[in-house]
Amino acid sequence: MTNPTEQKPAYELLGLKAAEYQDICQRLNREPNYLELAVFSLMWSEHCGYKHSRPLLSRFPTEGEAILQGPGENAGVIDIGGGRAIAMKIESHNHPSAIEPFEGAATGIGGIVRDIFAMGARPIANLDPLHFGSLDKPRQRYLLDGVVEGIAAYGNCMGIPTVGGEIHFEDAYEENCLINVMCVGMVEPDKILKARATGPGNLVILIGSSTGRDGIGGASILASAEFDETAEEKRPTVQVGNPFMEKKLLEACLEMRDEGLLVALQDLGAGGLSSSSSEMASKGGTGIDIDIAMIPLREPGMEPFEIMISESQERMLAVVTPGNEAAALAVCDKWDLDATVVGKVTEGDRLRVFQGGEMIADMPVKSLVDEAPTYIVEPVRPGHQVDEPLPEDHYRQPDDLGEVLTTLLASPNICSKRYVFEQYDYTVQTDNALWPGGDAAVLRIKGSPTGVALTVDGNGRKCYLDPCRGGRTVVAEAARNLSCVGARPVAITNCLNFGNPEKGPIYYQFQQAIEGMSEACEALGTPVTGGNVSFYNESFGQAVYPNPVVGMMGIIEDTGKIMTHGFRREGDAVLLIGGARPAVDGSEYQLYIHGEVAGRIPDVDLEKEKSLQALVRQAILEEKINSAHDVSDGGLACCIAEAAVAGGMGAMIDLGKAAFAPGAGPALRADLLLFGEAPGAVMVTAAPEQVDGLRVAAEAAAVPLAVIGRVGGKRLVFSDAGAEVINIPIEAAAGAWGDALEKILEAGV
């Protein structure tokens, strides 16, 4: 019996369509050889070529006066004043982490960190939004432990504090975990580096690890008939991270930057040398010659195409002027790094590969980098998506609401994530002024009153129910988190995690999410500075929830006024500011207590959201409030419980006073007031004498404000229409919330 794959042409085995192959032949005026075909197939893959996303990504607003670098470079850069700028970018490492969680996550950190120092920035923080399947499955616990240890091993070794993130567990991620990582760096605006290979005659230096057969092209290349006999030994190997090497690489690159030795710098990520060299040439408007005979190899017998597409980690490509190569190599030598001149910048627009004297590939750079074909798919609204929310009495109200509260507090999505974040070094670099557990992290800037606030947010379940509203919600929530610590939201980066975009419903979700996010970014003044798209997160035809993850940066003018979420003073008034009518649709309460995901999520009113956040920030600046906490997962009850546990103080709350959407409809049931979710609300506490002033400010801003209770005592008491509906000691809340994750993970092996 013959192997059916042997009948297929090489281009098809490499994942190219017949029309794409024709296109390549036309651009070359001939048939490509195998090396060229491998390079084209890689550059025209979804991952490198953005075939299904490029047309839609252009919807994002990217302009802003503080934006020094928008999408298009290795990371976005934002001016934060005082002669400093922030570089930031987020990326996914979903597929590698599902295969080998420790190394997959570790190399994910390695990759995103390289993007940041490729901009000439020193990494100052990592954040890690993670999504797994439900923890009652042993494999999910294994994945979580491996991923967290991998992030810890790499980030801690690099000396970059992991200051934030989020962790979410739901069945939709069982076959496809989402492992996103964000890195943030600091750079002086005049020291920003670009990946532009300018100046024909300049030299190209490859720095760092030797090149092995890591992650070569995946299964598509292996299935190629030409390689059948040796497929076993050519099996793509799992990439193993070497954070020590990367730390040296970071220091050497920044030292070369400081000495003014670099014309351009670029990391080697997906697509290895092919992608980094052609992108540098494309941006520089030049060509590049690479001599693969010069490249230090880790394994004998590597084929030219393997060398060109290897994804070996911890490598950088630098362009230097001919007089400077000795100095650059000396810096690398000081850091005990291998560095080799492997090519030069040329006139023209070709990527040419040589092996010693012989030219073995010759391709137009523009075709590789900028002219990958793009595809537009007919969007189809998914069948599960509905226009109407569930009726408010759709579920029966549970009898014991106190028990619902403790159950939710102990649920993996809401409970404390201490088990995870204590594995990350969050204090190194001594700038972290707000340790994990709050609404956002705040990094001070030494020698300046300014601080940088950071958060990541994603909410796949809400995007699944309504991707457009979900997209708006996610951006608004990120901004609200920043405002709650007193920071003005400035810009975002994003990672779009979706299923197979060739399917109408997935394409629809992708398009809708981008629309919603864009509207929110425009309304809130937070342009998109870059990001990453991860498609094909699906198995057995089942996609993950559509999950755009937003990383947002904000500025705090005065780090002396950072706000925290824990109750701070007995006798303070508890106020609810903003807010729409809370709904069961898409809430943790719906999933965890009623076992369903259904209905339609409430929308965000972006204008009101903007006023609400301005109001909260103003109150923080004027020192009128003592705590602030965003009302999100688990609703008002969980929000208040978290503030109580953090502050070690109880509260008495009258739910009837919650001014959710005043006048809109009949009185809400207690369970929805407690656990329902709707965007756009912040809970703050203030001394009683501040309340009038806050009320006046809220009226002026046309934001609803209600005094709903008082901080004090050692119990959490919620009443509705004069009757107590919850009355539990705060230790019960703290006990449920505090080490739930640890218990789950340490119980089952």
């Binding site: 295969i99 092995g212 799992v238 193993v240 020590f244 090497m245 980690q313």
Partner: protein, 81 residues
């Protein structure tokens, strides 16, 4: 019954530990050492009796817990006492 398990990084897989040790040896006065690979060595005691499937059991144990078959190879020895 006593067992010894030897775990090594798979061929072709990067071994950052081995690499780092190898690179630093010359500075410590050990020239010319190459191909340093660092793995694990595990000793354990299996419950006596069912000798027949002891090897089988150990094999499964290696696959499931002791080694990471995606990036590591393993070998073992069983020692009768």
């Amino acid at each position: 019954m006593k067992a010894k398990v030897y775990i090594t990084p798979k061929a072709g897989i990067l071994d950052p530990q081995g690499l780092t040790i190898e690179r630093s040896l010359p500075a410590l006065g050990f020239e010319g050492v190459s191909n340093v690979r660092v793995g694990k060595y595990i000793e354990l005691e299996l419950p006596g009796g069912g000798d027949a499937d002891a090897g089988d059991k150990l094999d499964r144990m290696c696959r499931k817990l002791l080694a990471n078959p995606i990036i590591e190879d393993f070998e073992y020895e069983l020692i009768e006492e």
